[in-house]
Symmetry: C2
Subunit: 642 residues, 2 copies
C-alpha cells in the first residue's frame, strides 16, 4: 500500500488570470479571489447588494441568496460573492467586473500591490520664472513635485547642473525622485525621454542563494530574474560560520563582503543583459536578507549577533545611495533594506510577513521560513511574535553527503511501494546525482512509514538497501540506506543516506517544530487555532505537506490550512520596491513584532527533546499521522510502532 | 570753520562685560543693557517690581519711581530699570543680577545667543543590552540621544565601526551629532575624551573679502579669526563680472570655485594654526555669502542670476557634508549655508538681519549692507522687504584709481580746515598709499562743504590742489583733486581723485539712497518712521554717519538712530552656527521677506536721478545738512549753494 494521502482538494481556476487556487471549506468565489489576489470588483463588500462581481462559472456550485434585484442570472453570469464551489470550477472574470487595481505577476505567490515605487519618474511642466514668480530653480522643481519649500535633497552634481537642465529643456523635465525618503530625494533630472525607463532591483540575499529581479518601476513588470549561489559559501555553510570568519581576521569581513558583491555583480549583469537594460536605468534597489547577510552586505561586523544577548549593529538601515553601498547600478539610486527584528529574525522574515499578509488579517496565522536558518512568525493584524532556530543546512543540501541543492539531477521525490521497491523523480529527469531537501523529506517519511527506520531514526529493517558501507571507500559512517546504486546513479557511485544523516534531519525538523510550539505556547494557542500556516523559503516551495506532517516537521492540521509561498523574501523585497504601503507595513511589522529568544528558553529545550521522535513523542498531537500509521498492514509495522 | 558735527552722544559702559554703548534719548540702563545684550536679570520685565536688576552706577543719572519696597538703595545699588543716565556712566553688574544666559563676545556687534549649535557633542551612558532590552546598537545610540526609532542617519563607515566602538568603550561614548538635520545625523562616535573639542567655522564669503572664525561649539568662544581677499578678484571686481567669467568658458566656473577654495583653505589653515586645532575637530560650518558667492562656492553655475527674471538655482541649500562641499575640515561635518532670498539678496543679508535683530522688534527698522553690492532690508517682526542695488566697488577701493581697501597706508579720514589745508589719517599711521571707502566719504563731504565741488560733483574751485593732470603721465582724465603730493605719498607719486571718480562715488551713493527710498515708499513710510537704521558691511563699520548724511548716502535723521554693526554677515553666520533659534529665524526671514526688484522699477529710476545731487535734489529731505551748509561763512559758499 503506497503511503496514503488525505482526499485531494478542489481547485478553482480564474481566467483570464490563469490563477488556480485550492478551495477551502465554505469559501465563496469572491473570498477565494481575494486570497488569490485576483481583481474582482466588490464595492458592497461581498454582501450580494451591488451586483458588480458578476462572473461566468463552469463547474458544480451552489448559489447563495440574496442577490440584488438588478442582477439578471439569465445572462449566464453569477455573482462571485454568492457562489460556493462544490467541485473543480473555472471562473471567467469579464473586464467590467474588475476594480482596476494593478496586478503584478511573479513566479512566487502573487500579491497585488498598488504602484508607488521607491523611486518614480515624474514629468514636470514647470511654469517659466517671471519677475513676480521668481522662486529659485530648486524650489520650482520641488514645488512641481508637490513638495513644499526646502523639502528636497539631491546630489551636489545634480544641483550643479540643475539650472542648465531645466532651461535646456525649456522647463519641461523628467524628474526621478525617491518620494519616501525623508526628506524626499531628487536622484535624476533630464529631458523628457519617452523611451527612458526607471528600473528597480528586488533582491533576496540568502545564506545559500542570492536571487535578483529586475523590475520596471512604471509597470511593475518583471523583466528578468537571476540566481546564484552566495559566493560566501566557501567561507562557511551557515550564518554562524560566516560570523566566525568575519570575526577571525582583519580581512575576514572584507572577504565576505567582497564575495557577496561578486555574486551580486554577476546577478546584476545577467539581469541587465536579459532585461536589455543599462545599469544607469536602475535607480532603486530593495534588498531582503537575514540580519547577518544584511550586515555583511553593508560591511558591518556581525560579531555581536553571535554573542549573548545577540544584538545586531543595525536593524533598520538609514537611507543610503547605491554608490555608498557599492551596488553596480546607478550610483545615485536609492537602496532600501527590509528591516530586521533581531539578530536572527532578519529583513527576509519581514519580507515573508509582507508577502503572506498575515499582518493584515484578523485570523491568527503562522509563517515558517524553512531555510538554512529557520524562522517562525505567529500573529495577526494586532500582534506578531517571532523566533528563530538554527535549522542547519540539511534542507538545502548541506550536512548530507549526497545532499544537493534543488538543481538538475537532484532527487526531488521518492516513493517506496508495498514491495519496498524504490522509485524516484529527478529534476530535469536525468540520472540522479544527489538528493535535495524535498527528496529528503519524502525519503525519510517513506522510510519511516515502511518501517526502515524507527521513531528515533535508527535503520532497523534488514533489507538489501540497508548496508554498512566501508568508511574508507565511501566516506560514510554507520549503516546507510542506498537510494540509487552505482549503476543507476549519474555519478557512477551509489547515492545513499546514512543513519547519522537521517538523525541530523530529524534534529533539524525537531528544532523547527519546537520553535513553532514555543511561539504558540507563549501566545496560549495551539496549532488548531491557526487559520493558515504559510511556508516560505526556496525549499518550502517543493515541500510535500503530508509527508512533512508524517515526519513531524509540520503540525498535523488540515492540509488546506497550509499555503506555500515560494520565495517570500524575494516577493517581500519586490513589494517594498513597488509599494509605499508595503514599506510602511514593513516598518510597522518591524516595530510591532515581539522577538522570543529561544536560546535561553527552557520551554524550547523541552519541546525540542519531545520533537526528536517521528513524528513526535506525543502521538496525540499527530492524529492523522497516527491514523495512517495504524492503517498500515501489520507486517509493515516496523519502528513506527516501537 | 571745521565741518560741524552734532553734539556727541553719551556713553554707557557695562562692567565687567567691557561693553560700551551710545546712549539713546530716554533709555533706561536696562533698555540699554538689552540692546547691548548685556545679561541683567529682569523677571518683572523692567516694571520696577522685582528688584532683581540691581547694579552699581557711576556717573550722572536720574532715578525714576517706583521701586519695590524690598529694594534698599543705601547698599549702593540702583535698579537698572529705574536709572536714566544724564551723562557718561559706568555700570557694574554684580553676579547676583545676572539671569545666567550664555554670553558670547565677538568683534562685531555683540549678540547673545543660547547655545544650541549646528553640531553638538553628547556623552552617552548607554545601558548594556540584555535579552530583554535587545534593540540594535544603532537604535540604542539613537535612543540615548533622545531620538526615536529610525530617526537618525550616519555615514556608512561610522555604522561599520559602530558596534565595535560602543563595546570598546563599554557603552560610554561621546556622540557628535547634527541635531537640526532632518533626520538628525550622527557624524562622530568615540570614546569619551575630556580634552576633545567640537569646533565650528563661521564664514562670510564676500565678493571682495572672505572672513572666517573658528569657534568652540561648547563654549561659544572665538578661538581665531582670519581674513583674506577673495581669490576670485582677478576674475572680476564685482558679482556681475564673476558671473560673466563663469559663463564665458567651460573652465570659468571651475576656476572661480577653485579660486575661492584657495582663499578658504588659507583661511582655514590660519584659523587652525592660531586656534591650535586640527581639521578633524571642525564638525560644523556656517557660511554666509551673497547668492553669487554661495553659487560659486557650491560649484553651481550662476548665469541665470544675471538674466531677467534674475532667478538663482538655489536659495536654500539642502544639508551637505564638508566632504561633499570640499571644505578642508572634518569630511563628515555639516555645512550650513545661510539662505538667500533672491539673486541679489543673499545669505549675507539674511545673516545681517539675524545680527541686527530687526525681525524680532515691533518697531520698523532699516538695515543697509554697504558693500560691492548694496542691499537694503526694511521691516519689523511682522513683515520684511528687501532690495538690492549695484552699488559698485567704489566703497571697497574699486573703480577709483587711488582707491584701496582698508589696509595699511590707506587714508581713512580726511579733514579740510578753514584755510583749506588738508589733513588726513592713514591706517597704520604710515605715508599714504591710497584712499579707502571711509576716507572717500570724508574727502568728498569735505570737498563739498568747502566748495571744491558743486552739488553735481564738478570740481568748481580754483585752488592749487585742483589740477588738470596729464593723462599720458598719470592715466587720469579731466580735473583732479590732489590729496597728497608725490613728496607726502608712500608710493612716490601723487594721490588724487578725479572729477569722474567723484561722480562715480555720487552715482553709488545715489543708488544706495534711492534703494532705501523706494523700499520706504513701497511700505508707505518715510525715514522719520524708522526706529533704527543698521549699517552693516566691513566698510560700514568705519563710516562717519554725519559725513555720510552730508553726502546724502545716509538719510538725514538723528544720529542716535544709526547703529553700526560691523560685519553683520559674519555675525549672522556665527549666530546660525551656535543657535538653532537663529537657524529657525533665518528660515523664517528667508520665507517671509518680500523681494522688490529695482531693475524694473520706474520709481527707482526717479529716486536715483533725484539722488544724483549732493546731498539730494530735494534739500528739504536733509534739514540738518541744509542748516550746516547755511551756517557756513559767506566766502566759503562755493558750489554747495549753486
Amino acid at each position: 500500500m503506497p503511503l496514503p494521502t488525505p482526499p485531494r482538494n478542489l481547485k478553482v481556476t480564474f481566467e483570464p488570470d490563469g490563477v488556480t487556487m485550492q478551495l477551502h471549506e465554505g469559501e465563496t468565489l469572491l473570498e477565494i479571489a481575494r486570497r488569490a489576489n485576483v481583481d474582482i470588483s466588490s464595492p458592497c463588500g461581498g454582501e450580494g447588494l451591488c451586483g458588480r462581481c458578476a462572473v461566468q462559472v463552469k463547474g458544480e456550485h451552489d448559489v447563495l441568496g440574496p442577490t440584488p434585484p438588478h442582477h439578471d442570472p439569465s445572462k449566464g453570469l453569477s455573482l462571485a460573492c454568492r457562489v460556493r464551489p462544490k467541485g473543480d470550477v473555472t471562473v471567467t472574470v469579464p473586464p467590467g467586473s474588475r476594480s482596476g487595481a494593478v496586478r503584478i505577476l511573479t513566479e512566487s505567490r502573487e500579491v497585488m500591490v498598488e504602484l508607488s515605487p521607491l523611486v518614480r519618474r515624474v514629468v514636470l511642466e514647470l511654469p517659466r520664472p517671471t519677475i513676480s514668480d521668481n522662486v529659485c530653480d530648486l524650489m520650482r522643481v520641488s514645488r512641481g513635485l508637490g513638495f513644499g519649500l526646502h523639502e528636497i535633497t539631491l546630489p551636489l552634481p545634480l544641483l550643479q547642473r540643475l539650472g542648465e537642465t531645466v532651461r535646456a529643456s525649456d522647463w519641461r523635465v523628467a524628474a526621478t525622485v525617491a518620494t519616501d525618503s525623508r526628506p524626499p530625494r531628487l536622484i535624476g533630472l533630464g529631458p523628457v525621454d519617452p523611451s527612458g525607463r526607471t528600473l528597480g532591483l528586488a533582491m533576496d540575499i540568502g545564506t545559500t542563494t542570492v536571487v535578483g529581479r529586475l523590475i520596471d518601476l512604471e509597470s511593475g513588470l518583471v523583466l528578468s530574474t537571476a540566481a546564484r549561489e552566495n559566493g560566501q559559501i566557501p567561507f562557511g555553510e551557515d550564518v554562524i560560520a560566516r560570523i566566525q570568519h568575519a570575526n577571525e581576521s582583519e580581512t575576514g569581513l572584507r572577504e565576505l563582503r567582497g564575495a557577496v558583491f561578486g555574486t551580486i555583480k554577476e546577478i546584476v549583469l545577467e539581469l541587465l543583459e536579459e532585461g536589455h537594460a543599462s545599469a544607469d536605468e536602475v535607480v532603486a534597489s530593495s534588498i531582503a536578507g537575514n540580519t547577518v547577510m544584511e550586515h555583511l552586505f553593508m560591511g558591518v561586523q556581525p560579531r555581536s549577533i553571535r554573542l549573548e544577548p545577540y544584538v545586531p549593529t543595525f536593524c533598520q538601515m538609514p537611507d543610503i545611495t547605491a554608490g555608498e553601498a557599492g551596488l553596480p547600478v546607478n550610483p545615485d539610486g536609492i537602496v532600501y533594506l527590509l528591516p530586521s527584528r533581531a539578530g536572527f529574525v532578519g529583513g527576509d522574515v519581514t519580507a515573508d510577513v509582507l508577502a503572506c499578509g498575515m499582518h493584515k488579517r484578523d485570523e491568527v496565522a503562522m509563517m515558517i521560513d524553512v531555510g538554512t536558518n529557520g524562522e517562525v512568525v505567529l500573529g495577526n493584524r494586532e500582534w506578531l511574535m517571532a523566533c528563530s532556530c538554527s535549522a542547519g543546512p540539511a534542507f538545502e543540501g548541506g550536512e548530507v553527503k549526497h545532499g544537493m541543492r534543488a538543481a538538475k539531477g537532484a532527487i526531488e521525490h521518492v516513493e517506496i511501494d508495498d514491495d519496498l521497491s524504490v522509485s524516484y523523480q529527478t529534476i530535469g529527469e536525468t540520472a540522479p546525482r544527489g538528493i535535495c531537501g524535498s527528496g529528503l523529506i519524502d525519503l525519510i517519511a517513506e522510510l519511516f512509514y515502511h518501517g526502515f527506520i524507527d521513531r528515533a531514526g535508527t535503520l532497523v529493517k534488514e533489507h538489501g538497501r540497508v548496508v554498512q558501507l566501508d568508511p574508507l571507500t565511501f566516506d560514510a559512517f554507520g549503516r546507510c540506506f542506498i537510494i540509487a546504486d552505482a549503476g543507476q546513479s549519474g555519478t557512477g557511485a551509489p547515492i545513499y543516506i546514512s543513519e547519522g544523516e537521517i538523525k541530523n534531519v530529524i534534529r533539524t525538523k525537531a528544532a523547527m517544530y519546537a520553535a513553532c510550539s514555543v511561539l504558540l505556547k507563549e501566545a496560549n494557542l495551539t496549532f488548531d487555532d491557526l487559520d493558515r500556516v504559510y511556508i516560505s523559503g526556496g525549499f518550502g516551495r517543493y515541500l510535500d505537506s503530508w509527508k512533512s506532517r508524517l515526519l513531524g516537521l509540520l503540525p498535523d492540521i488540515e492540509e488546506w490550512r497550509f499555503e506555500f509561498m515560494g520565495n517570500g523574501s524575494l516577493e517581500g523585497a519586490r513589494m517594498a520596491l513597488l509599494s509605499s504601503t508595503a514599506r510602511k507595513e514593513a516598518r510597522s511589522v518591524f516595530s510591532n513584532m515581539t522577538y522570543v529568544e529561544l536560546s535561553v528558553s527552557a520551554r524550547f529545550m523541552d519541546e525540542f527533546t519531545s520533537a526528536m521522535f517521528l513524528p513526535h513523542t506525543d502521538l496525540d498531537r499527530f492524529p492523522q499521522v497516527r491514523k495512517a500509521l495504524d492503517g498500515r498492514k501489520t507486517e509493515d509495522r516496523g519502528g513506527a510502532g516501537a
